[in-house]
């Protein structure tokens, strides 16, 4: 399978799956409700999968990781934690990266 076909198949399946999730209770399971355990579990999906992606892509990824990169991710994370906004993570992280790469 070429990479393009792989990406296309994944995109189509995730697209269909997403539509199914968004419409599930409106069409298929109308009149049904989640059990409290499932509702609770769904709440922890986002932090779990994002942490898993960050570790897998960061540590197991192909990119070279040095002091400027790690610092930029940490600064971006701390600023984002305080500011609670995605653009501020990007700005803080990129500026840190540029400054440190220029200095080191």
């Amino acid at each position: 399978m070429t990479l393009t076909v792989l990406a296309l198949v994944a995109t189509v399946v995730v697209g269909i799956g997403t539509y199914f999730m968004r419409s599930s209770f409106i069409h298929v399971f109308a009149d049904r409700e989640f059990s409290p355990v499932v509702r609770q579990a769904l709440r922890y999906v986002a932090p779990s999968v994002m942490a898993a992606l960050v570790v897998s892509l960061g540590v197991g990824g192909s990119a070279e990781v040095g002091i400027p990169e790690v610092s930029a991710l940490v600064v971006g994370g701390v600023v984002g934690w305080r500011a609670r906004s995605l653009p501020s993570v990007l700005v803080a992280g990129m500026v840190t990266l540029w400054v440190l790469r220029a200095l080191i």
């Binding site: 995109t11 599930s24 922890y44 984002g80």
Partner: protein, 223 residues
């Protein structure tokens, strides 16, 4: 010609929500441009999935050589929160015409849910006009901005290292998802288990780690 008040209100409300999404869409376009597969296929995800985190996950994992099963599983797991939106809107949509019950869910993204869930007590027609205004304007801006990132990304000088914005975006999404102590536990457990299972081929460790994180979050919330 005057614009309907529901439409005007929808546009007014969607603009502040759209602004923070612009950098996300640009970075996503950049990630697609950098990925070693057809740009068109990458961009199609914006309309086929219409969900930024899942699309970024599919694009990045495909580019990093993950296996098909891991890409699909990770992309779908990222989206599971939509079950909650769907469940919350089921009673609201039951008063709507059939065409809207089919089109509406396609536009049910995080931001649309956040804005329109404040309008569920409006009349069905008014809710529908507001919902479509928010959803469709978001859709148009999203498609155009991802395309813009795809075009602009490769033109930007290499020294700017804009590709580093992709891991930063993932960190930002992680930070945004940690909003309580159990969610922090979930993230730490997921990260640790993913680390331990890095040796599993095709990056299926992501799924193992994510499931462990969910279990950790549920256990932590019961103490």
């Amino acid at each position: 010609m005057s614009v309907h008040p529901d439409i005007r209100r929808g546009i007014r409300d969607v603009i502040p929500v759209l602004v923070p999404v612009v950098p996300f869409a640009l970075v996503l376009g950049l990630a697609i441009a950098e990925a070693p597969f057809s740009n068109l296929v990458g961009w199609l995800g914006s309309s086929l999935i219409f969900g930024g985190s899942a699309q970024l996950t599919v694009v990045t994992l495909s580019a990093e050589g993950a296996g098909l099963a891991a890409i699909i599983a990770a992309g779908l797991v990222v989206q599971t929160r939509h079950f909650m939106y769907s469940a919350a809107f089921a009673p609201v949509f039951s008063d709507q015409p059939k065409w809207f019950r089919w089109l509406g869910p396609y536009l049910l993204i995080d931001q649309a849910f956040a804005l329109t869930s404040l309008r569920i007590d409006d009349s069905p027609a008014s809710f529908r006009r507001y919902y479509l205004t928010v959803g469709l304007s978001f859709w148009v801006v999203w498609q155009a901005t991802v395309a813009l990132g795809l075009i602009v990304g490769p033109v930007v000088p290499e020294e700017w290292s804009l590709d580093f914005a992709v891991p930063l975006l993932f960190v930002g999404l992680l930070i945004a998802a940690i909003d309580s102590r159990p969610s922090l536990v979930a993230a730490v457990v997921a990260g640790a288990i993913t680390w331990v299972t890095l040796g599993i081929p095709n990056r299926l460790g992501i799924i193992v780690g994510a499931l462990a994180g969910v279990a950790g979050g549920v256990i932590a919330s019961r103490r």
